[in-house]
């Protein structure tokens, strides 16, 4: 077999948040890892775990911004570690867990707190897909489908200024999921999704900071979806005030 091509490496200094169950507080450990310009913060964490500290815990799975498990805070920004290149972070990288979700260990947060409200929105994982311009559907394919943009990473929840101050807030991910149901119900219960969202701890709690849309690594636009839901909820109320028979209840 031919020799594998290698690329020149540079030392990257990682300051990594550490905290185990029973610890009285968190701390930062420092590790130095040689990485080439194409490598990511996730590659660095894997190298630390493999070569320096096997007790380091962090979530990861797909390595290409599709599973959403490696959401974390890198140099103060909420990002997916798998697509955050060290060439863009610079040689000093501070890694912290996502905010606004309970900590399990080191960089691992408890995703049950994320999926609780998210699941109440009832959004199916797969949506109808647009055909490529000029394309046709193949024989036997009645509806072209694709996964929803949202990868359930928790980054929008971490970036949201309201989620940090109000634990009862449904949060941008769950509200965006509800919006998707209202926009494209498929077999899901759109009126129930709207009722879930149309609440003082739902769409009306949002401060319209759009930090969520800014941080979303998958262009799911939670902030825009919250505004779409506000319009839908308002229209629904207006219809109800005027006694229109077809308002969602």
């Amino acid at each position: 077999m031919a020799e594998l091509q290698t690329t020149p490496t540079h030392p990257v200094r990682f300051r990594v948040h550490r905290r185990k169950a029973g610890d009285s507080g968190g701390r930062f450990d420092t590790f130095e890892v040689p990485l080439d310009e194409h490598r990511t913060v996730l590659d660095g964490l894997v190298a630390i775990r493999t070569g320096q500290d096997p007790s380091l815990t962090f979530r990861h799975s797909c390595f290409h911004a599709s599973c959403g498990t490696c959401g974390m805070r890198v140099n103060g920004r909420d990002v997916l570690a798998c697509v955050t290149k060290v060439a863009d972070t610079g040689p000093d990288v501070t890694v912290e867990p996502l905010a606004n979700l309970p900590l399990v260990s080191d960089l691992v947060v408890e995703m049950g707190a994320f999926y609780g409200p998210f699941d109440r929105a009832g959004r199916p994982l797969v949506r109808e897909s647009e055909l490529l311009p000029g394309g046709e559907r193949a024989e036997g394919i009645d509806v072209l489908t694709r996964y929803e943009d949202c990868i359930e990473c928790g980054i929008c929840v971490s970036a949201c200024p309201v989620a940090g101050s109000d634990s009862r807030y449904a949060g941008p991910a769950a509200l965006a999921a509800a919006a998707r149901v209202v926009l494209e119900p498929r077999d899901a219960d759109a009126p129930a999704a709207l009722r879930f969202a149309d609440d003082e701890h739902g769409i009306w709690r949002c401060h319209v900071a759009y930090e969520c849309t800014e941080a979303c690594p998958s262009n799911a636009d939670p902030g825009g979806h919250i505004m779409r839901l506000r319009r839908a909820a308002t229209a629904n109320r207006v219809r109800r005030w005027f006694g229109a028979g077809r308002a969602a209840r």
Partner: protein, 395 residues
Amino acid sequence: MNETASLRAPAHVLIVGGGGTGGALAHDLLLRGVRVTLVERGEITSGTTGRHHGLLHSGARYAVKDKESAVECIEENTILRRICPGSFELNDGLFVAITEEDVAYEPAFVEACLESGIPARRVSRAEALRLEPHLNPEMKLAVQIPDGTMDAMRMPLRFFATARHNGAVIRPWTAVTEIIVNSRTVTGVRVRDLTSGAEEVVGADLVVNATGPWAEIVARMADCDVPVQPSPGVLLAVRGRWCNMVLNRLHPSGDGDIIVPQRGLSVIGTSSWVVENPDDLGVPEDHVERMYSEGAKLVPAVRNAERRAAWSAARPLIGSRGASTGRELSRTFKCFDHAETDGVEGFVTISGGKGTTLRAMAEKTADVVCAKLGIDAPCRTRDTVLLPHSAYYLN
């Protein structure tokens, strides 16, 4: 179930490894009345499982060279559509002939697909270009087969979710530090909880090593041998969906000849080399470049598509060296009963295989495990619809 077994508490099986195989095995064993604990040193699906290209195989890729794998894939493809509803992008796939050599391959390919039970429809050049406007205009003809796109984490997660809700104890962040062997019988493992540092011994009637490309390293902890060679491949995800369907090159399998559209990305794969340590793969840039150049032969536009990510995933390749007397269940995966291969009781290794066949691997392994434990219960996973992936995180 035999009389002695039925009088005792349910047998306890400890599974090492939280990939798709371990999750599907936990689910299968639970349905057969076995008590299950699964330990994984990291997050669930953080090894090979989550990193594959996300292709729900029709089996067409294997039809000419390896009919057994092809039949296994189309059977499992059909079963997964049934037990994981709503988990796939089901847009079929095209095998595309670009060269005259590819065209010459077509009759044998279609015949092999049909013989394997894979529906295959010949598509003219004109029709293929209507279905896929970005296809290489030099293409000659294509064949439509029932490939699909899977979420490499969320589909397997449904097995974990269902197993957990049926009573399995799933413990991520739990590393095995020792496999305990008494008089050549495995009786349990010592684990370290990486969220607290606490160590404990977990006893088991049987331990299953389901660690994929790590199988040899883990088997060695019990002085057993497994001929598994970690064989990584590079995958490249570019921004944008450049095809409506999964695209394959219509030729004998090679590098960079699959493009899988997934969410807002297109994933091009893959290459192949061998390593000793599956924790240290690297991502050779020349392989990334090859994904671009080979992918561009199918869809020229990917050449200039923005790189979203490039990564490596280690296949567990089963070699023929060492103890190969294990039960050969298929050419694609193997289950080793270490009582037979190494004279060590209470220890079974499952490795090899692919994402599409995770349920079948689990079924065959559960058959071996139940036979060893004297449990007479049929497999029920073919018809048990799985809970949604999010149920894994919810109580």
